[in-house]
Symmetry: C2
Subunit: 570 residues, 2 copies
């Protein structure tokens, strides 16, 4: 285990449960394991659960659906646990919650900090900042009910509430409670998926024990097979035209610098909108791209009912590997909205070519609502996200490549090499401009970055942009790994439409993408986070990307305004 008690200031206590004990053994195939993403040391992981920030120990806690025995989903399904001081390096602390029956599962749920001891679970020995209560779904054959458990050791071990379940509506598809605190009514609010009825049930409680059904939010979005993992959270609104917001990705944890802009902004329709509620929702199987997808709705929540501003359907991420997103309860400044998703897809998650462990979480993202013009005639509210991690600590002694103002030509590729002893981990900032006068609608007017493996150049990711379609694309199909070509669901070519970021002085439109590559995961954030795309990719073991070739199909169409590639290491 990587877990260091020194970091935590606490020893991981053994669970009080008497059911099957999981043996954790060190995995053997770590070569392509992401470095700066949460992965389980060993075994199977899916949904993030119980995310919370411990303000006393300044520690992020992430739990997750966990089957440690083998790297496949199985029962008894537990909650694994990992902690991080910086949302960058995670330390696996093993099983935190396990079901009391081997044929069952501690399914997804969330945690809250019960500062005021509304539950009565805590006495003075537990710091108010660490009074955590988990609410989770006890899944047993034919039944799903909601249980609560609390911790008196800062989130490492949990005690089941004696009178569980706290919610039982005699249903077998009733799961994934995500609890929040509603300040105005001084109540706990939980959203739970009544999955196959396509409704999110909203309950309130004064004490986390007695729950009253308040409303149902149903048949919204793209329904697919079922609803899972709902979540309701208040998100700051940032006005784009007066945005002195500093993306957290570059500066975290120094997040105070950008909070001043949250609360003096104006919504374009003339309303003074400082914050809005966002309902997150996951659907699987049957997402439009195949399998799993995360949706969201922006609206208002009055303590009992969530009302979306519009009936439209929106997706949090346009990649194929972003599911079951959940936000942290509490953040250092109490206002940021930060969360994690599971970076995989149920269509192929159990077949991906890792062995002793399977699945990673996305990088943490910081969410804001921003004005956004999806086309020249509209301004809409949009959920913006940028990654949050301690970049400064990762760039020490690592090489950096920059180039700027390079007009691309068909017969002259640009070759950029990262250092030979590559880590397989880097980020990049790319700004390009488009001269649309040099091509016609009959051209494929693209430029591509080929992100090429160091040991085998036949393995590469291709990413780029094409002018006629207005879309940024990713092709992850160029690999010798059998899974990539054979698995019928590992979609090769994915894309997302982009509006221009800004118009340059020369009149050309420019576009931006910020990317993080971590061994077998690429996360792209467009135009400062108005859209994002998370995708797995798989090269042969140890064949880390260390070369970037830039090519175009049209002369003088694209100018690389700025490209910097920063190798990252730990």
């Amino acid at each position: 285990m990587k877990f260091s008690t020194a970091v935590l200031g606490l020893a991981a206590l053994s669970s009080i449960c008497s059911c099957q004990e999981y043996e954790l053994e060190d995995g053997t195939d770590h070569s392509n394991r992401p470095l700066i993403h949460l992965t389980p040391d060993k075994g199977w992981m899916n949904d993030p659960n119980g995310l919370w920030y411990d303000a006393k120990d300044e520690l992020w806690h992430a739990y997750y659906q966990y089957y440690p025995e083998v790297a496949h989903w199985g029962r008894p399904l537990a909650w694994g646990h990992s902690v991080s001081s910086d949302l960058t390096i995670w330390n696996d602390t093993g099983v935190a919650i396990r079901p009391h029956r081997n044929d069952s599962g501690a399914y997804s749920g969330s945690m809250v900090i019960d500062y005021n001891n509304t539950s009565g679970f805590f006495n003075g020995s537990v710091d108010p900042r660490q009074r955590v209560i988990a609410m989770w779904t006890f899944d047993s054959p034919g039944s799903e009910t909601q249980h609560i458990s609390y911790s008196v050791d800062g989130g490492y071990t949990f005690i089941d509430y004696e009178q569980n379940p706290v919610l039982d509506i005699n249903e077998s598809n009733f799961r994934d409670p995500k609890v929040t605190w509603h300040e105005e009514t001084s109540k706990w609010i939980v959203t739970i998926a009544h999955s196959q009825k396509f409704e999110i049930l909203i309950y309130s409680s004064p004490d986390m024990k007695d729950w009253t059904l308040e409303s149902s939010f149903s048949h919204s979005g793209f329904l697919a097979f079922q609803y899972e993992c709902p979540g309701l959270v208040k998100v700051p609104v940032v006005k784009a035209s007066n945005n002195d917001y500093v993306p957290a990705n570059l500066t975290y944890p120094n997040s105070t610098t950008y909070n001043s802009s949250y609360f003096n902004t104006t919504f374009s329709q003339g309303d003074e909108l400082e914050e809005a509620w966002v309902m997150f929702l996951s659907v699987n199987p049957g997402g439009p791209l195949g399998g799993s997808v995360n949706e969201y709705f922006i609206g208002d929540f009055n303590g009992t009912h969530f009302t979306p501003f519009t009936p439209q359907t929106r997706f949090v991420d346009f990649g194929k590997d972003f599911y079951a997103f959940q936000t942290f309860f509490n953040t250092p400044n109490g206002k940021d909205v930060i969360g994690l998703a599971w970076a995989s897809n149920w269509q192929y998650c159990e077949a991906v070519p890792t062995r002793s462990w399977r699945s990673s979480m996305s990088i943490a993202r910081n969410f804001t609502i921003q004005e956004y013009a999806p086309n020249p005639e509209s301004v809409e509210l949009n959920l913006n996200s940028m990654p949050v991690y301690d970049r400064e600590s990762l760039i020490a002694n690592q090489s950096r490549i920059t180039t700027h103002n390079r007009t691309l030509e068909k017969n002259s590729a640009i070759h950029l090499n990262l250092s030979n002893n590559g880590t397989g981990v880097f980020d990049f900032n790319l700004t390009w401009s488009l001269n649309s006068s040099v091509y016609t609608n009959s051209d494929v007017a693209e430029f591509s970055l080929y992100l090429i493996g160091s040991d085998n150049s036949e393995e590469y990711l291709r990413i780029g942009y094409e002018g006629n379609s207005g879309a940024f694309f990713l092709d992850r199909g160029h690999s010798d790994v059998d899974f990539v070509s054979r698995n019928p669901f590992f979609t090769d070519k994915l894309s997302t439409y982009l509006e221009p970021y800004e118009t340059l002085e020369n009149g050309l439109n420019s576009y931006k993408v910020y990317g993080i590559v971590d061994r077998n995961l690429i996360e792209l954030f467009f135009n400062d986070g108005s859209e994002a795309m998370t995708n797995l990719f798989f090269f042969s073991d140890g064949n880390y990307i260390n070369e970037v070739d830039i090519r175009t199909s049209i002369d003088h169409c694209y100018n690389i305004e700025e490209l910097s590639i920063q190798q990252l290491g730990i």
Copy 2:
């Protein structure tokens, strides 16, 4: 031109317009051109327009966005015209409507039959069944307005209304009028996309000339970049549990056999719902799969307002090549809802590897609303579609392969060969059952049909089903055609989730797919049309599919209950 005046009983008159005349020359690259789908003889085609059925001559008229000069979109953009007696073989009759300025376009629109001469355009010399009026968008730089034109020769040439435009709201993105007749209020109703405002404007008129704005349907569905090609149509509701409906695909034009079931059915929620209104809507660019996608909403229309029953987003087709769907005004029995879509995607439509012509329409589809269980706990209304074409005429002297009750084994592929002088056109009916007890969640439990080219077996389509994901998949990436591998938007792997069709006597669930393959287009209809998937594919010229190999990854998991493959020819 293939057009035969004998078929029509009318000569194609020359247009009255004096602008640029288009010269039609015979194309040269017909080898992979679909046989039983509408394609232009030469030049560029996109959206279907002005679809109507002529009950006097028993002829289907389809118009389409047309640029005949080259096989790329261009101005002046006209309406091409093609006719068919059976929705199977189409005869290109050339340009029907053209704009009066060369820098402009006769953009998409629709046609109605003005039986009662509400417009005053017709006198006794025109049979009421042929009193057609087109409503279309005149697009010129910076402006889009609605024009009407009428025909006194049965739809071959059109006369522009002298007082055009009939609708001008001083906007540049206001297009694609689709007109219907609203019986209850005795008015024409048109839906027009106010594209970049994400609204569908609904107007009414007594005479097709004077239009009154009644309402706006906005911000519904998945918005993407913009709305296009709306359409409002009344669709029969068929109760699945009492369904003596005979799918039109096998028997058309003998459609009277199934209409009796339309109007004595019961909606499962207890309402007597005989029909409902469906709003169709296309969005592009920015669809979830990339580029273009067609959505729909089921609801009620009271003559002024459309109200969807639920706020959910639904897609008409889960493939990547189904856009700008439009229904025919009038059908032989006056109740069927039949329409065509453009079978391509704006992300790559101009780059597909055909030369003298580009794009085809989908096969015609007959739509009904049926009860459907998207999961074991819900019953929803669903838009069902099955293909409509004259299959009987296509199977004469063509070979047929059938097999049934074949349990698949890993080491024993099934090889099926179509005749050596293959046409590249066939359909198939496949029913399989799934034994989910023989695999675990860690298996990729798939079976695949490899549809292999006759000249080059490296070129194949792979379609099949996988048990853990519950999805049917298609992989169109195995081709020597450069476009297939190089174009960054020609997504290889696509899939759709399937619910079981029925439970067999042995307790196993079974599933059904009906497929039509026509040279470079494959259309799949699942479980009698509850879901559909339309996708282009490209093999080398003349390399028609003539072999089907069936393989599985798991022994005794799949049983081919029934497979018949029918070669088709004209």
